[in-house]
């Protein structure tokens, strides 16, 4: 019963995080400054997610295969803007460098 409550509370909390500003600002135009700030949320948070997933002090440290794979993904992503090719390039370089 306690486990069920914990799962439900996290579920409700997650929904609130995702919806609160969408519902609170419905039909209101954000100020130019806010709109400018919101344009930058995507790249800032996605880059932070990458950093968080490749480095945790004492647990996860990126080596040459990881760095090579990410650089390949960055280059191919910028050139093609295609997720499939980006993933193929990043993982291919990662696996190739691991074999060296």
């Amino acid at each position: 019963m306690i486990a069920l409550a914990a799962v439900v509370v996290v579920g409700i909390g997650s929904y609130v995080f995702r919806s609160v500003l969408i519902l609170a600002t419905a039909h209101r135009q954000p100020s130019p400054l806010l709109r400018k700030a919101l344009d930058n949320v995507g790249p800032a948070v996605l880059a932070a997610l990458v950093a968080s997933s490749i480095y945790t002090p004492g647990e996860v440290t990126p080596g040459l295969p990881e760095i090579g794979g990410l650089v390949a993904a960055l280059v191919i992503g910028m050139k093609t803007k295609n997720l499939l090719w980006t993933s193929v390039a990043g993982m291919s370089v990662f696996w190739a460098l691991r074999l060296l």
């Binding site: 306690i2 486990a3 069920l4 914990a6 799962v7 439900v8 509370v9 996290v10 579920g11 909390g13 997650s14 995080f17 995702r18 919806s19 500003l21 969408i22 519902l23 609170a24 600002t25 419905a26 209101r28 709109r35 400018k36 700030a37 919101l38 344009d39 930058n40 949320v41 995507g42 790249p43 800032a44 948070v45 996605l46 880059a47 932070a48 997610l49 990458v50 950093a51 968080s52 997933s53 480095y55 945790t56 002090p57 004492g58 990881e66 993904a73 960055l74 280059v75 992503g77 910028m78 803007k81 295609n82 997720l83 980006t86 993933s87 990043g90 993982m91 990662f94 696996w95 691991r98």
Partner: protein, 231 residues
Amino acid sequence: MHESTTTASSPIRHGLRDGLTLFAPVVPFALVLGLAVIESEIPTGLGWASSSIIFGGAAQLTLLTLYGPGAVIGTVVAALAVNARHLMYSAALAPRFSEQPHWFRILGPYLLVDQVFAVVVGRNEDPAWWRRYYLTAGLVMWTMWQISVAVGLFVGPVIPESWGLSFAIPVMFVGLVAFRLDRMPSLVAAVVGGGVALLSAGLPNKVGIILGGLAGVAVATLVDGDKKGSR
């Protein structure tokens, strides 16, 4: 991929393609989560149900791995902290949702996970197209997530960790960042966001993601303002 010139093409076809492409790198994570469900002190059925009740892999993984007697409140707070970044997604997409019908503003946010945010945030098509695209990509993610976590209950313990399949997740996110680096403020946001997250990587509950996101947005917005003000 994020050009408004695709307005005439089917949002469902685009949503299916992008949803499936986004999901492929998540498969290893879903399999790991399936394994975590088995090993958790939370009952297996409830652990799997958390995939639909929470629908957020990082928060689920936090809850499943930390949950135990005497640690319930701390575990719940930690899992919520992990998902606090979704507030920023909510803020970023609020203008797009303001153009949508009421039912979608209520139901849509449930599907707003990292991958869905990543593909919808840069799209500039008209509201109806955007809504169908969002729902298609979101429902693909949701359905595949439920299936993959269930599969993970059985095959997660069998896949060798040495394959390194989980590296596909940061690769995918790097690609999504790369798509947005055609503006100087976006480049600044990514560099500062990633840098601050790296510097604060030792903090608990993945707080570094939130700090990186806030710092990246703040600095990039200042740079953007200065650039326009100096013209």
